[in-house]
Symmetry: C2
Subunit: 353 residues, 2 copies
Amino acid sequence: MADIRTVAALAGVSVATVSRALSAPDKLRPETLARVTDAIARTGYNPNARAQGLRRQRSRTVMVIVNDLPNPFIASVVRAIEDRARAAGYCVLIGDSQRCRTHELAYGTMATRGIADGIIQFGPRPPFGTESDLARFPVVSVLDCFHHPSVPTVQIDNRAAAEDMMARLIGLGHRRIALITGPVTSSQSHDRADGARAAFAGHFGHLEGLVATTGDYSAESGRLAMAALLDSPARRPTAVFCFNDLMAIGAMKAIGAAGLAVPADISVAGFDDIEVARFLAPALATVRQPAQEIGTVAFDLLEQRIASPAAAVSHVRLPHAIREGESLSRPGMARHRHGAGAASAMRRGPTCL
Amino acid sequence: MADIRTVAALAGVSVATVSRALSAPDKLRPETLARVTDAIARTGYNPNARAQGLRRQRSRTVMVIVNDLPNPFIASVVRAIEDRARAAGYCVLIGDSQRCRTHELAYGTMATRGIADGIIQFGPRPPFGTESDLARFPVVSVLDCFHHPSVPTVQIDNRAAAEDMMARLIGLGHRRIALITGPVTSSQSHDRADGARAAFAGHFGHLEGLVATTGDYSAESGRLAMAALLDSPARRPTAVFCFNDLMAIGAMKAIGAAGLAVPADISVAGFDDIEVARFLAPALATVRQPAQEIGTVAFDLLEQRIASPAAAVSHVRLPHAIREGESLSRPGMARHRHGAGAASAMRRGPTCL
DNA sequence: CTGAAAGCGCTTACAG
DNA sequence: CTGAAAGCGCTTACAG
């Protein structure tokens, strides 16, 4: 924690020379460089990043704003961003808004106070209160994107991905399918719901049999939503498509709690392909999103934007894939061991599409 | 992104007055304050944190270094730290070392470059290469702690917690118990193994029947470790105590893959009490660690240390609890439906304690 | 190739 | 109560 003056004195040079030894060593006479390098080593000198940032007007830090850090899928994208950032000599500042708009805005403001050079935003709203800031401060929107002329986005084709999974379910013979969606504010959830509807209507010519209920991407919300769907055995779906894996885990729990089996009674599909999904029994069929690549591309786009703010804004769509699992089967695979009890249909949430 | 000079000019005062309007408003004449406040509002002025930090020699930022951010238990402790930090007006910088020593040291060095006022370290090693830095820079060690005279720690009593879970297993009648531990570098894993041994030996007077194999806290390592334990049906344990929930999830997968059932054939216990553990079927019995409180206390200790570096170093032990689950039962609950095949005993890893 | 000097945007004794 | 000035630790034209 010596400063540049200490090092300069020790090496018998000016502070400018010490600075150059670090940033442009080839501009120094080898002899001088050696003296400075030695002094740096002896003092354990590390330039103060605050002072560097102030002088250079660049912090080499990016802020990542997520809304649910404990969600393993989000964490894995964050990890990929961090990997790439580190390689590029950047620090990463993570803000977990916990879906609270106030926190989100606080992190956004913080970033613009010279703390970060740009923001990677995971949520469906801009991290600033005033839209015009988006034109001035580099922001990249990722996963659950929002749209703005000066904000690049990186995500999969959520609509097509949902269509693909629905095609799989329909292909297996399912005619009564439930969706457990994300919150109404989630743009990716809208896209997926659109895709699901398109696939269903495209195949059957109508939407009868497709039902949707809303979750909030937490396992508990998936459990509750599924429990609501099970309230009415007569209209019970034969397959459930959850818009993330955590909700699928919750749904599986609710199905088990009702004395039903996956997939014999109800097939379950997820979204994200988090690691634990592969460890469930049965292993969850889900939509794989390329977490690593999403993070990498997001960082690269942000870095480009920091370097040249006027360049064209690109919107990257990365490929998804269907991850096979044991949680899907054809409908009607179970003996009819459950009594009726046609109770309160659609009590909570579920609405026809 | 106006600067203080712009605001001062607009309000017709000096920059010193603008600074005071923010940090000590009561020192200004109400009239002046009003003019400045108005100018601040009109320009959307936010002080540059870099410049503030440089001048004040305080960044009001703490760095959190974890080794596995996607682990939901770790993420939940990080979230608690962030909550507390935000309330105290601090930023949080998260570094995910991914168990790589080089990255860990890089984050540690970064923090000391004026970027952070202190570090909360999750791993069992100090974040610096030279020990003496620990006396100079505030560090708090958390969860998987290391020990150093000037570093406060916060964790549960891992030894006692393991004893408690072992007592539960022994009380159910288990006589052949396997441990799936963390890596050898993990101090908390050592403590837990000690506790497990003490409980076993205390009850039986010997260690025959207690077996340990090593994992790395990932689900996949739990699966592999469990598969190795199942290699020899004759010596198969009737209960497995995994030193985190992710490994327990992996172990359950391996048990299912071998055609066995939890808990009928093998009881499984975990550690951490992550949210998904409650959603497994069967719900996992585990050791609850108070994530929220651990994070809160860790931040508070760090803040104290930043404020008064010379104060006494405290070591906080927070209470754990046993979370009941359906993954435990008495041994021998299953019919003997599996053939023998007494193959290669202890081929991989498992060693008698 | 090297140094003296200005300045990044703030804060805070020091005067008045 | 308010302002002028020094300085936090760097970097980088500008001279030489």
